[in-house]
């Protein structure tokens, strides 16, 4: 019996070829057909149309990362909420309670972060209100050497 299983991947291989051809073709064609008049401004790194200042390689406050993590927390929550909303009626009470439980857990995590001072950007950087000795994740000199 001929192994027909891997022939299925032929389509994918074909698509891969088309993708490479199309994307590569665009770059090559624009390079060949387009005009080249480089100037100082054009060759500088693009930064939202602003004139770049300083070096990007510097230390950031650790709070940025914490905020990013809070963002992910709610991002994931939304990811779960959307499919849940689509089949909300089919899931009935069970689905509702389940999601309520999930939201409660996420809420508990958020309450914890809030209390630990992750969202507190105004205060001194000695830690959040509940920051005991080495207790608060936002405590310490953020980003500085220990």
């Amino acid at each position: 019996m001929p192994n027909t299983y891997f022939q299925n991947y032929l389509v994918i291989l074909l698509m891969l070829g088309v993708v490479v051809l199309l994307a590569g073709g665009m770059i090559v064609l624009s390079y060949l057909l387009g005009q080249h008049r480089p100037s100082r401004v054009k060759l500088s790194p693009y930064e939202c149309g602003m004139v770049p200042t300083g070096d990007a390689r510097q230390r950031f406050s650790v709070k940025f990362y914490l905020v990013a993590m809070v963002f992910i927390l709610f991002d994931v929550e939304i990811v779960f909420l959307y499919p849940w909303a689509v089949i909300f009626h089919e899931l009935r009470m069970f689905g509702f309670l389940e999601m309520l439980l999930f939201l409660l857990l996420v809420g508990a995590g958020f309450a914890y972060l809030w209390k630990m001072g992750v969202l507190d950007w105004t205060g001194s950087d000695t830690g959040g209100p509940a920051g005991g000795t080495g207790g608060s994740p936002a405590g310490g000199r953020a980003g500085g050497p220990e």
Binding site: L105, Y112, K115
Partner: protein, 511 residues
């Protein structure tokens, strides 16, 4: 969801709720929160243990066959909860001394325990994976908990990066296994591989992946109902890599010494006992249940890994001067011994691994409790030479450590001896003569480095001043349980062994 379903995951549910409560308690309580968090954590673990009783006698599958609250899962739940209780008891004084945030620590410990419980009870590769990730992610954070200490952060990063890679391997293996058989249910995979169930319709069965029509047609559908052996072999290999990493078996053991050394000592104890046991639970369930009917001879993989682990662990341990590194290499070697029993691929072998895990947990928790206590602030005294003369300065502490070390060597009247004895018996009964000889040889090599510590404790003069603070009551409790348990297992192993055997037979015979 029926009440039976809820009972099947009640221990995990309790652990999760208590973990969240501990987290909030730490944030919103201002005074005496360390004591409160520890207390609530202990209560939660005991409550989870009590909830476990509701699972007896064992019931059928829960959540449409996704969770199996069988004797195997029961056994491991008891082990995990016992380990967690001992870890909490030995952590309290350590956390105070190192000034670590107790609330987060205990919450993460509880989350990790919940994940480990799911790993033991899961009958579906997806749920196994989620359980593994819950416990792994918590352990990554716990390893780096002494965040002001460079070595701790370094070990956390190493553990995280390598662990992620291992997880990716595991996940790829799961994907291939699903592709080949059309299901992620362990018991259904077993039927498909044995040829008793058509992989094309496996997804349609009541235990199937979505309950409805399969969304993806398995590879076997295109092969006229035949399961592609090449895919299965590849899947077994990849899953093996992922799980061998978690049990720190060679050649995937490289992370072990660094992580064990850098992690806070109670966390090291948790990794060496809890995480290892959970990974073995998953290992045993996936390989003896799902891959039992696989054409590919996976015991040969285990054979190689077992021999490598024993030699790498024991030979490298000979050169160590740091107690935590020494026990890390010893942990690799012991993973090797357990793999020897696993290679036997029999109900007796499975039961032996389970028994060995209990014995190993007791002796290791005891040894690490002593190391955590001796280490003093900032873990300054963790070299073997710091233990010189300990036998005369604090005879009880040295006595407990001696019992644990003797058990690690495998001296009669200890749990470690009987564990090794059963390992080699199981191997011999499956005609693994070569493996048994290599294992016995390794036990002899291993005696040297454990004896080195014993010699230091009882026969040499201290080279530098090592403070000997009084042992806190909780730590004394842990030491008593560990030393006593080790001796008890060595004298009267029957109850544990019989239960393990019963669980192993249930695991193999059912379905």
């Amino acid at each position: 969801m029926s009440p039976e379903d809820l009972i099947a995951v009640l221990p995990e549910a309790i652990l999760t709720v208590v973990a969240t409560a501990v987290m909030l308690l730490a944030a919103f309580r201002t005074k005496g929160k360390e004591e409160w968090c520890g207390f609530v954590t202990l209560l939660g673990l005991l409550a989870a243990m009590a909830a476990l009783i509701l699972q007896w006698p064992p019931q059928g599958p829960a959540f449409d066959g996704m969770v199996l609250a069988d004797p195997f899962s029961f056994f491991f739940h008891l082990l995990f909860l016992g380990i967690a209780i001992l870890i909490v008891l030995s952590s309290a004084s350590y956390l105070r001394q190192e000034r670590l945030a107790a609330g987060e620590y205990y919450a993460l410990l509880l989350f990790a325990t919940a994940g480990m419980g799911l790993m033991a009870a899961a009958n579906d590769l997806i749920l196994s994976f989620i359980g593994l990730e819950i416990s792994s992610l918590s352990s990554y954070v716990l390893v780096g908990f002494r965040r002001r200490v460079a070595i701790s952060s370094e070990s956390a990063l190493k553990y995280f990066l390598l662990g992620s890679f291992a997880t990716a391997f595991l996940l790829y293996g799961i994907a291939l296994l699903f592709g080949a058989t059309g299901t992620t249910r362990l018991t259904v995979i077993r039927e498909v591989l044995r040829g008793g169930l058509n992989p094309v319709t496996a997804g349609n069965s009541t235990e199937g992946i979505v309950g409805g029509s399969p969304v993806l047609l398995p590879a076997a559908a295109q092969l006229g109902g035949e399961v592609p052996t090449s895919l299965i072999a590849l899947a077994i290999g990849l899953i093996f890599v992922g799980l061998a990493f978690k049990v720190s078996a060679a050649p995937f053991q490289v992370w072990t010494p660094d992580v064990y050394q850098g992690a806070p000592t109670p966390v090291t104890a948790f990794l060496a006992t809890g995480s290892k046991a959970a990974a073995f639970a998953l290992f045993l369930r996936v390989f003896t249940v799902a891959l039992d009917g696989a054409v590919y001879p996976w015991p040969s993989l285990l054979w190689v890994s077992a021999v490598l682990s024993m030699f790498v662990g024991n030979l490298a341990a000979l050169w160590q001067s740091n107690m935590k590194r020494l026990l890390a290499y010893s942990s690799i070697a012991h993973a090797g011994y357990m793999l020897v029993a696993f290679t036997a691929n029999s109900a007796e072998g499975v039961a032996t691994v389970m028994f060995y895990l209990v014995a190993y947990a007791l002796m290791n928790l005891g040894a690490f409790a002593v190391i955590a206590h001796m280490g003093n602030q900032g873990e300054r005294y963790v070299a073997i030479e710091d233990y010189a003369g300990l036998g005369f300065r604090s005879p009880v502490l040295a006595g407990c450590l001696s019992v644990c070390l003797l058990s690690l060597i495998g001296i009669p009247l200890t749990g470690g001896f009987l564990g090794k004895f059963y390992v080699f018996r199981a191997a011999l009964r499956s005609d693994l003569l070569g493996l048994t000889v290599l294992g016995v040889l390794n036990s002899a090599i291993a005696a040297y480095y454990y004896l080195k510590v014993l010699v230091a404790m009882y026969m040499s003069e201290p080279t530098r001043e090592v403070p000997a603070p009084p042992v806190p009551a909780a730590v004394a409790c842990v030491l008593a349980v560990c030393a006593g348990g080790t001796l008890l297992l060595g004298i009267a192993p029957q109850s544990v062994l019989n239960f393990a055997l019963y669980a192993a037979q249930w695991l193999q015979g059912r379905m």
